[in-house]
C-alpha cells in the first residue's frame, strides 16, 4: 500500500481494524490448525456437503460448498487440520477456513504491494504459514498450510 493511500483511507482502516478485533473475539471456529470439530463449523458456514477420504498419512474432508467451490481440509493422524486446498468459481470464505491464521495472511498480503502493479497468482510464504492462490475470475484454486504441521513424508504439492 502506498503512503499516499495510507493517509487517504486511514480512518476507514481504523474502522476495519476494530471490526476485525471484534471478529477475533468470536468463539474459535478455526479450521487451519483446528480439530475435526472445526470442519463441521466450516461445513455449516459454507452451506456444503461433506465427503471424507482416509489415506495413509492423513484424512481429507471435502466440503462441496453451495456456490460450486470445493474446499478440502487435510487432517493429520493427531486430528489436526494441517492444510486446506480449494478450487471452484468463487473464492471460499478464507476468514472462515483460515480461522486464526486469516489475520496473518491478510496482513502479509497487504504488505506485499511492491513498486509495480502485478496481476498474477498470490503467494504468502512465511515460516508459520504458506498460502498460494491462482486461477482467474470464475476459476480460482489455492492451498494453505502450516509447514510445521505437515505429517512426515507429506509434500506440499499433495495439497490440492
Amino acid at each position: 500500500m502506498s503512503e499516499a493511500q495510507v493517509g487517504f483511507i486511514k480512518s476507514r482502516l481504523a474502522i476495519a481494524a476494530s471490526a476485525l478485533l471484534i471478529l477475533g473475539a468470536l468463539p474459535a471456529s478455526a479450521s487451519l490448525g483446528g480439530d475435526t470439530a472445526s470442519i463441521e463449523a466450516d461445513q455449516v458456514h459454507l452451506q456444503g456437503t461433506r465427503t471424507t477420504k482416509a489415506g495413509e498419512s492423513y484424512t481429507v474432508h471435502e466440503i462441496q460448498a453451495g456456490n460450486g467451490t470445493a474446499v478440502r481440509e487435510y487432517v493429520s493422524p493427531e486430528g489436526k487440520v494441517f492444510a486446506i486446498g480449494w478450487n471452484g468459481p468463487w473464492m471460499p470464505d478464507l476468514r472462515q477456513v483460515l480461522g486464526g491464521f486469516f489475520e496473518q495472511y491478510r496482513t502479509a498480503l497487504q504488505a506485499q504491494s511492491g513498486p509495480r502493479i502485478v496481476r498474477r497468482p498470490v503467494a504468502i510464504q512465511q515460516p508459520g504459514l504458506v498460502v498460494q492462490v491462482g486461477g482467474h475470475i470464475r476459476a480460482f484454486s489455492g492451498r494453505a498450510y502450516v509447514p510445521d504441521m505437515l505429517p512426515s513424508g507429506v509434500r506440499a504439492e499433495e495439497i490440492q
Partner: protein
C-alpha cells in the same frame, strides 16, 4: 514510481525509431501481423506502463462515459483492456460526471463485489452511455470503484485481498472487460456468490432469491453495441527480445462484421467453459485460458527456468531468453504456440513496459496455463462472446 515515469519519457521516444519492423518473438518466424488502424470500429490501445508508469505488460484504452441520454460526457483514459473479465469498471476518483445509481427491486442502491486475482473491486452499480471509437452502448450498467460510497460487507472481504479502488492499487483508471461473456455473473446469481448486494442505510446485504437480474448486471459494452457486437480483436505488434518501452495497437470491435475484422486464417478454439487445453513439456493443463489482463504468461516451471529473486518474486529470470513451445487444443482443433521468456528483472530494470514476461502459476491444483498479454504480442487475438453468431461460428471462442 516517479523515477520510472521520468525515464519512460526518454526511452519511449527512443523506442519509436525501431518499433516498426521488429520481429515478434512470440510469433516465431511467421510474418508480422497486420494491425488495423482505421474504421469506426477501431480504437487505439497502448502498452505503456499505465497512468502510474508501473504496470508492465498491460494494454490501455480511452473511452467516453456520458450521463444516459445527455451530452454530459467525459473521457476516461488509461482503462485496462481485459479479455479475462466481463464488464466496465471505473474508479470513482476518475469520474467527473455524476451517473445515476442503479436500484434493486426493493428500491435500494445496488453495489457489486468482484474478486480478481490478488485484489477485489467494490462499489456502486451505476448507469452510463459508453462510447468507444464509433460504437456506443446505451444505458449500460457499470461498476464504480469506491470504498467510501458504501462499506464493503464481510462477504466481499473474505478473500483477504486488498481493495483496488485507487489508481495506485488498480494501476489503471478502470477495467474494460471484453472477455467471452456479456454479463459478469450470469443467471442465477445467488447470494452464495457474494457478488451483488443491495445497500439500505443499515448496510449492504446480498440481493435475495436468484440475485441481480441478468439485464441489470455489469456488462461487456461490446454486447450492447448496435453493430459489431459479437466480439473483439486485440491487435498488438511483436516485441524484440529484451522488451520495448511501449507498444501501440488496436482494439477492433466485431468479428466478420466489417471488411476490417474478418477472421481470415485464424483458427477457432471453442471455450464453452472459458478454457481450453494446453499441453506443455509433458504436462496437460485443461483449464488454460487467454487473458490480456494477466501481465505475464503464467505456467508450471517444468523446464527448470530460473526464478527471480525477491524484487521480482514469482516471475522468471532466465540468464538468456528461453525459447519454448506448447500446444493448445479445443474440440479437435490444435496448434503449436512458440514463445519466449526473458529475464523479468532486466525488463523491469530497463523500464520496459512490454516484454516476454513469464511467471509461476501458484495455486493448489495447477491445472492451467495462463496466456497473458505476452501471448498477444505479434498476434491478432479474436474473442467471441457467448451465444453470439460470428463468421467463425457461435461464441464463446478464442481465435488466433
Amino acid at each position: 514510481m516517479r523515477n520510472i515515469r521520468i525515464i519512460l519519457c526518454v526511452t519511449a521516444c527512443f523506442a519509436c525509431t525501431f518499433l516498426i519492423g521488429c520481429g515478434g518473438s512470440s510469433g516465431g518466424s511467421t510474418p508480422a501481423n497486420v494491425i488495423t488502424t482505421t474504421g469506426s470500429n477501431v480504437a487505439p490501445i497502448s502498452v505503456n506502463g499505465g497512468p502510474e508508469g508501473d504496470y508492465a505488460d498491460a494494454a490501455f484504452i480511452s473511452l467516453t462515459v456520458c450521463v444516459p441520454g445527455t451530452s454530459t460526457c467525459q473521457t476516461v483514459d488509461d482503462v485496462l483492456v481485459d479479455t479475462g473479465s466481463y464488464g466496465l469498471r471505473i474508479l470513482s476518483s476518475a469520474l467527473t460526471v455524476a451517473l445515476p445509481q442503479q436500484k434493486s427491486a426493493d428500491g435500494n442502491p445496488v453495489a457489486e463485489c468482484l474478486t480478481f486475482l490478488g485484489s477485489y473491486t467494490w462499489g456502486p452499480v451505476q448507469t452510463a452511455d459508453v462510447k468507444i471509437s464509433g460504437e456506443e452502448a446505451s444505458s449500460m450498467p457499470l461498476q464504480v470503484l469506491s470504498d467510501s460510497d458504501f462499506r464493503a460487507p464481510e462477504g466481499c472481504t473474505s478473500s483477504g485481498y486488498p481493495s483496488a479502488d485507487t489508481v495506485e492499487t488498480l494501476g489503471a483508471n478502470g477495467i474494460l472487460g471484453v472477455g467471452l461473456f456479456a454479463q459478469d455473473c450470469g443467471s442465477p446469481c445467488p447470494a452464495s456468490y457474494n457478488q451483488y448486494f443491495e445497500c439500505p442505510s443499515s448496510g449492504c446485504v446480498n440481493i435475495p432469491g436468484s440475485g441481480e437480474p441478468l439485464d441489470q448486471q455489469v456488462v461487456n459494452p461490446v454486447a450492447l453495441f448496435a453493430t459489431d457486437n459479437n466480439g473483439v480483436i486485440v491487435e498488438l505488434p511483436g516485441v524484440s527480445t529484451g522488451g520495448e518501452a511501449s507498444l501501440s495497437g488496436s482494439l477492433v470491435f466485431g468479428i466478420g462484421t466489417q471488411s476490417n475484422n474478418a477472421l481470415g486464417a485464424a483458427k477457432v478454439y471453442a471455450a464453452p467453459e472459458a478454457a481450453f487445453t494446453t499441453t506443455f513439456d509433458n504436462g496437460t493443463y485443461p483449464q488454460s485460458f487467454i487473458d490480456s489482463g494477466s501481465n505475464a504468461l503464467f505456467f508450471e516451471n517444468a523446464t527448470g527456468i530460473a526464478e527471480c529473486g525477491s524484487d521480482a518474486s514469482g516471475f522468471y529470470c532466465p540468464a538468456a531468453p528461453v525459447s519454448l513451445s506448447a500446444t493448445n487444443e479445443a474440440s479437435g482443433v490444435s496448434g503449436a504456440v512458440n514463445f519466449t521468456i526473458t529475464d523479468a528483472q532486466a525488463i523491469f530494470n530497463a523500464n520496459d513496459f512490454a516484454g516476454d514476461l513469464g511467471g509461476l502459476p501458484i495455486g493448489g491444483s495447477t491445472n492451467y496455463f495462463d496466456w497473458g498479454l505476452p501471448f498477444f504480442f505479434g498476434r491478432n487475438v479474436y474473442v467471441a462472446i457467448d451465444g453470439a453468431s460470428t463468421s467463425g461460428g457461435t461464441g464463446p471462442f478464442w481465435a488466433y
